[in-house]
C-alpha cells in the first residue's frame, strides 16, 4: 500500500517520469513474459474451478455421481451413451452420455475424475501447507536466533542437525512405511507428506533470514527499538516469501505425484474417496481392455503436475533479480 502511495506522490511531482511500478506489477510483467508459465497458470485456474465444481457437483447437488455402480454399463468407452433400457433413470448420467466412459464397476469416470480433482488438490495443498508452516518456523528460528546458545549448541546448529536427521531417511520409503503402518486415512497421508517435505523450505527461509538479518533495514529497525516479533513478521517474512512460494508450488506437484505413487503400491487413499492416483492405479489392470481408464487419469496428472512446475519456474524467474537482466 505504501508503495502505491509513494508512486502516486512521485507521479505528481515529476510528471515527465513514468510511474514506477509496484513490486507486484513488476513480478507480473516478468511472469507474463514466460508463455509456458502463463499457460500453466491458466490450466491451474481451470483445475481450481474443476475441483470446486467437483466438490459441489458430486457431493452437494449431485449432478454427477461418482459412486453409482452400473454393472450392465461397465467398460464403456468415452462419449458412449448409456443403455437406456438397462439403467434406471435415476442412475443415468447427464445427457445420457458417459463423457469419459465407465470403469470396471460401471462408474462414471468423468464424475470420479471430478471428485478426484478436489481430493488430489486438497491433499497437495494441505500437505504443502503443513510443510511450509514447519519450514518457515524452523527456518526462521534458525536464521534469526541462530547464534543463541541452548546448552552446548546454538539454535542454528540444533535445527540444522535435526534437518540433517530428517534428510537421512529416504523420503518416499519413510512415507510408505508410516502410511502402511498407520490405519489408512486421507488425513494421515496429508500429514505424513507434510511432515517429511519441509527441509527445503526451512533451508530457504533460513538462508533468506541470514542475509536479511545483516541488512541495514533490519539493523535500523532494531535501532529504533521495534519489538522483535514485529521485525520478523512485518519486515523479514515478506522478503523471504519468494523462494517459499516457489518451492510450495513445486511441492504441490510433488505431493500429487507422491500420492499417485502410494496409490500404485496400494497404500494411497482408500475407497470410496477417489483420487486421480487411485483411479490410475485401478486402471492399470485394464490397459488392454479399457485403455481410457489408464490414460485419462495419467494424462490428467501429467498436465496438472506440469502446470504446477511451469508456474513454479515462472515464479522463480520473476523473483530472481539476477536472472532478470538477461
Amino acid at each position: 500500500m505504501a508503495d502505491s502511495r509513494h508512486a502516486a506522490a512521485l507521479a505528481e511531482l515529476l510528471p515527465d517520469l513514468p510511474t514506477p511500478e509496484t513490486p507486484l506489477q513488476e513480478l507480473w510483467r516478468i511472469f507474463y513474459k514466460d508463455r509456458l508459465a502463463v499457460i500453466g497458470l491458466v490450466v491451474l485456474i481451470f483445475l481450481l474451478i474443476a475441483a470446486l465444481a467437483g466438490k459441489v457437483l458430486t457431493e452437494w447437488t449431485v449432478t454427477f455421481d461418482p459412486a453409482t455402480v452400473r454393472l450392465p454399463d461397465k467398460f464403456k468407452p468415452p462419449l458412449s451413451s448409456a443403455s437406456v433400457d438397462l439403467i434406471p433413470p435415476a442412475d443415468r448420467p447427464l445427457f445420457g452420455t458417459y463423457l469419459l466412459g465407465t470403469d470396471e464397476l460401471g462408474r462414471d469416470v468423468f464424475a470420479r475424475m471430478l471428485q478426484g480433482s478436489f481430493v488430489s488438490l486438497s491433499i497437495g495443498f494441505i500437505a504443502v501447507g503443513i510443510s511450509v508452516l514447519i519450514g518457515i518456523v524452523l527456518g526462521g528460528l534458525a536464521g534469526f536466533y541462530g547464534t543463541v546458545k541452548l546448552g552446548f549448541m546454538t539454535v542454528d546448529t540444533l535445527i540444522m542437525r535435526f534437518t540433517d536427521v530428517m534428510l537421512c531417511f529416504p523420503t518416499f520409503f519413510l512415507i510408505l512405511t508410516v502410511v502402511a503402518l498407520l490405519p489408512p486415512s486421507i488425513y494421515n497421508i496429508m500429514i505424513v507428506i507434510g511432515l517429511t517435505s519441509w527441509e527445503g523450505t526451512a533451508r530457504f527461509v533460513r538462508a533468506e533470514f541470514l542475509t536479511l538479518r545483516e541488512q541495514d533495514f533490519v539493523v535500523a529497525a532494531q535501532a529504533l527499538g521495534l519489538p522483535e516479533r514485529r521485525i520478523i513478521f512485518r519486515h523479514m517474512v515478506p522478503n523471504a516469501i519468494a523462494p517459499v512460494l516457489m518451492s510450495a508450488t513445486i511441492g504441490v506437484a510433488s505431493a500429487i505425484l507422491t500420492e499417485s505413487a502410494l496409490s500404485f503400491l496400494g497404500f494411497g487413499v482408500q475407497p470410496p474417496y477417489a483420487t486421480w492416483g487411485n483411479i490410475l492405479a485401478d486402471g492399470k489392470d485394464f490397459i488392454f481392455d479399457a485403455p481410457w481408464l489408464f490414460f485419462i487419469p495419467g494424462v490428467a496428472i501429467l498436465v496438472v503436475v506440469l502446470a504446477f512446475n511451469l508456474v513454479g519456474e515462472g515464479l522463480r524467474e520473476a523473483f530472481n533479480p539476477k536472472l532478470r537482466r538477461r
Binding site: L36, R161, D164, V165, L167, C168, F169, P170, T171, F172, F173, L174, L176, T177, V178, A180, L181, L182, P183, A253, L257, S260, A261, F264, L265, L280, K284, I287, F294, G298, I301, L302, V305, L306, F308, N309, L310, E313, K322, L323, R326
Partner: protein, 320 residues
Amino acid sequence: MWAFILRNILQRLLLLVFVSILAHSVAHLAPGQPSEVDPSNPRMKPEDIARIRAAFHLDEPLHLQYVYWMRDLATGELKSFKDSQPVLPKIWQRFLNSLPLFICETLIIWSLSFPIGIYAAVRRGSAYDRTSTFVAYTLISIPGFFLSYLVILWVVSTFNVPVIGMKTFGMEDAQPVFRWMDRLWHLVIPSLMSAVAGIAILSRYVRSQMLEVIGQDYVRTARAKGLPEDAVIYHHALRNALLPFVTMFGFLLPGLIGGSVIFEQIFAWPGLGRLGYEAILNRDFPVILTLNFIAAVLTLAGTFVSDILYAVVDPRIRLQ
C-alpha cells in the same frame, strides 16, 4: 585437514545414533502386530503368540528393544519377523540384485545430463533450449509408473520381447553368452525408466549452474584475453560450474534404496526396494528398521564423501 575429517566423522556417527533411535521409535509406535503374530490367524494358539513375542522381545520396554536390535544387528543375528531368517544376508542378496540397476541408471543420468544441460546453457533461448526445457518439465511431471507402463506396452508390442524381471525364465540352460545378453537386455528398460526423472532434473540444474557461471566477471576476462570460445566455456566456465556437482555425487548413494521401490515393483526386479516394500506389507520390523538404518548410513557416508570431495576440488576451501 585431518581434524576436519575426524570432526566430520564424529558428527555423523552421532547423527546416526539419533536417526536409528528415531526410526526405531517410529516403527514400534505404530499399532498392530508383526507378521508372525497375527491374532486373527486361527492356527495361532495363545501360547505360540506368547512364545513368539518373547522370542522377539516384543514385551520389553522400548529402549531395551532398541538395545536388542542394535546388538543383534551388530552380531549379524538379527532375524526377520516373517520367516525367522537372518536379515543381513537377505539384504545383501537383494543389494547385489539392485546394484547393476543402480549403476546403470546412474551412468545414464550423469553421462546424458551434462551434455544436454551445457548445450542448453550455451545456446540460451534457442529452439533447442526451449524444447529441451519443455521436455525436461514433462518428464519430471509424468508419474513414473505411467511412463513405464506405456514404454513396456510399446516395447512388448513392437519388438515382442520380454521386459519384466531380471532374466527370462528357463535361460539357465543356455550358454553364458546368451545368458549375459539376456541379463543386459533386462537391465535396459528399468534403468532407463529410473533414469528419466533424474536426467530431467540434473540437466536443468547443470543448465542453471552453467548460466550463472557464464555470467561471471572472470568469464568476461577470459574472453577479453582473446581465448577461443571453446576454452572459455569448457575450460574456464565448466570447471567452476562443476564444483557443486562433485558434492551431489555423494548424494547418489542413498538413492539405492529410496527411489527404486516403484520401479522394482513395476519390473518385478528382486532388489532392495522390493524387499522394503514386502517388509512393509508384512510388518517385518527388523527388515524395515535395518533398511532405514542402512539408508541413513548411506546418506551420511554419501554426504561425508561430498564434503571431502568439495574440499579437494575447490581451492578456496582447501586452504582454510
